[in-house]
């Protein structure tokens, strides 16, 4: 039932990798995060291959978002090691992670309400005509072009990209956030509950974008509570419980009830037994 990807054994005990290292886009070893006395993330070994769509599931407070915040360097990890695209990495901030190619659609939509679509897509890494430090001149035309290309690639439709975000619907906002990943040719996309706040039609639109990414061979980590969505869109499901990984399941080998059993703690995979 377990996936063939080794996520739990590391160091000298690790068996020969069954996957070529070049095939792995992201790998974490012993990733741990403590907030004071709270152990939000404990010893997480995780792996995702190129072109693979992996779902992260778990109850509220299980450590899903915390895990994302560590690999995107929004927060600094307490312990553990991360490899990205074949290299050992130590990101010192979210910009470094983004520049390396990890694009994240955050749960709380990292968009600035009063800025328009190109401004938001390029927030923090604006295109510059002349480099004068903080007073560098912006290349509005270049950003607009790249924005249109990114929206086209994801199939996102927005009536007027010069509209500010505050005047857009939840679905449009989410699409802008997702289009950001396409604009920057990311190597790994992470989406933290992208459809949690959306209506039915908007959810379909976002799911279609995710399918487009799959067709294009873009790897994706999807955090979601929606079992149907996960079963529809992902190849593999990794379940978190109380800060630890408790299951690593291939979609074809599992079922919805099975996953729920892992989430609630009714079941734990034998190789994760010590975590339960």
């Amino acid at each position: 039932m377990a996936s063939d990807i080794q996520t739990n054994i590391s160091g000298a005990e690790a068996p020969h990798p069954r996957v070529e290292p070049a095939e792995v886009i992201l790998r974490t070893e012993g990733l741990t995060k403590h907030y004071g006395g709270v152990h939000a993330l404990v010893d997480c070994n995780f792996e995702i291959r190129k072109g693979e769509h992996v779902a992260i599931m778990g109850d509220n407070g299980a450590g899903k978002s915390t895990f994302v915040r560590q690999i995107t360097a929004v927060e600094q990890k307490t312990a553990g090691r991360i490899w990205f695209n074949g290299d050992y990495v130590e990101f010192d901030g979210p910009l470094a992670a983004r520049e390396a190619g990890i694009e994240t659609v955050f749960q709380n939509l990292a968009l600035a309400d009063h800025l328009d679509v190109p401004d938001n897509l390029f927030l923090g890494r604006e295109l510059r005509k002349f480099n004068l430090g903080p007073f560098s001149i912006l290349d509005y035309k270049g950003m607009r072009k790249a924005t249109l290309a990114g929206l086209e690639k994801t199939g996102v439709k927005i009536p007027n990209i010069r509209n500010t975000i505050q005047h857009m619907s939840g679905g449009q906002r989410q699409c802008v956030a997702i289009a950001r990943t396409a604009t920057f040719h990311s190597k790994l996309t992470i989406m933290d509950e992208p459809t949690a706040a959306l209506g039915v039609q908007e959810t379909v639109q976002v799911e279609n974008i995710i399918r487009t990414l799959k067709e294009q061979g873009e790897p994706l980590i999807l955090i979601s509570h929606n079992m149907r969505q996960v079963m529809d869109l992902c190849d593999r499901i990794v379940v978190w419980r109380r800060g630890r990984i408790c299951a690593n399941l291939r979609k074809q080998d599992t079922s919805g009830e099975d996953v729920v059993a892992y989430i609630t703690g009714a079941k734990t995979q034998p190789e994760y037994a010590e975590t339960a």
Binding site: P94, L111, A112, L123, G124, R125, E126
Partner: protein, 358 residues
């Protein structure tokens, strides 16, 4: 995806679809206030507010009045340019008036003459050290440095201690006023050099204000600095997650506000030919009011320099208009207060309507 006349798949940059800029409302307000004074003037004073009515002077407009309208708000306007940027980041700067006072005192004491009518000016602050008749560049650098240091302290407090900007700049407001009084134990500093008095003479304050307004308008609109200023005010968490160095940027914004207060002090003390510890009292509130009338949102993320300039002009028109109607200054203040509140109420109403339309 089909190509349509509106771009790919309905995506388009369509300039015609953009609504009126928020400054249009402020400009209309300005025009209405001018019109009101014009009409009142025709009825009550039998004179024109805006146009030339004297036979011995050529010209369509009452140029002297127009000049005064803008001259009397130029110095506070310079402060307001900095305050605007602080407010756009979602902060507030209460210290600018006191910083003007302290900076004026300190800078002026480096700009005093050595002799008055052939008699030694022994009351000059640095007379004993012989620092009199210094070249203009010295007091200028001193003024800019004073403003910059005050702004830098504000910025560091706001960015790195996590205390609200209101408190940080309130502290600076009180302390800087103290510095202004302590510098000469309350004595005014007078008799500046000729080159120093040139800075604020005639219409120079207006030119300096306009130059700085255009400069910062362009900076906010076309540079990374401007974009990050709006982004932080709009959604600080998003800005941080996007990799913008929020703390560093805030220090920069507050420093620039301090620098502009320093420039205002230079112009004010030069124009008045003297510096007093009480200079610039309540300027910070007038500057904030100009920004607010100009459509700058105190919640941050919204507003432009153009709006603040229009807000400053509204201030100037009201002061001139009341003088023109020979009404007491008490009424001026009452109406100014009402306009500040009215401008925000109108702006919120406009925002709601715009949101409902979209």
């Amino acid at each position: 995806m089909a190509e349509s006349p509106h771009g790919v798949g309905g995506l388009a940059f369509d300039a015609s679809k953009r609504g009126l800029p928020p400054e249009a409302g402020v400009a209309i307000g300005l025009a209405l206030i001018v019109l009101a004074f014009e009409v009142l003037g025709r009825f009550l004073m039998n004179d024109s507010f805006l146009f030339n009515t004297r036979d011995n002077i050529d010209g369509l407009f009452n140029t002297a009045r127009l000049q005064i309208i803008i001259l009397q708000v130029s110095i506070i306007g310079i402060i307001a340019l900095g305050v605007t940027q602080v407010i756009i980041t979602g902060g507030i700067d209460l210290s600018s008036g006191s910083v003007v006072g302290a900076t004026a005192m300190i800078a002026m004491s480096f700009a005093q003459v050595g002799q008055i009518n052939g008699i030694e000016n022994s009351r000059a602050v640095f007379f004993e050290q012989g620092w009199v008749d210094l070249p203009l560049i010295v007091p200028m650098i001193v003024a800019l440095a004073c403003g910059l240091v005050a702004g830098l302290i504000n910025g560091l407090l706001v960015a790195y201690t996590g205390i609200p900007p209101f408190i940080a700049t309130l502290g600076m407001m009180v302390s800087a006023r103290g510095v202004a009084k302590w510098w000469t134990a309350g004595q005014p500093v007078s008799f500046p050099t000729e080159s120093y008095t040139a800075i604020g003479s005639g219409m120079m304050p207006v030119f300096i204000f306009m130059f700085l307004a255009i400069l910062f308008h362009l900076i906010l609109k076309y540079t990374v600095y401007g974009k990050h200023t709006y982004a932080i005010g709009s959604n600080e968490a998003a800005a941080r997650m996007s990799g913008i160095k929020v703390a560093r940027h805030k220090v920069l914004v507050y420093s620039i506000a301090g620098l502009l207060a320093g420039i205002a002090a230079l112009v004010l003390s030069s124009k008045n030919l003297t510096a007093q510890a009480g200079m610039g009292l309540m300027y910070e509130l007038d500057a904030i009011a100009m920004a607010v009338i100009g459509g700058i949102s105190l919640q941050g993320g919204r507003g432009t320099i153009l709006g603040t300039v229009l807000g400053a002009l509204i201030f100037g028109v009201i002061i001139s208009g009341f003088t023109f109607l020979r009404l007491d200054a008490y009424y001026q203040e009452m109406v100014k207060g009402a306009i500040i509140v009215g401008a925000v109420v109108l702006d919120q109403w406009r925002q709601k309507r715009a949101a409902a339309k979209a």
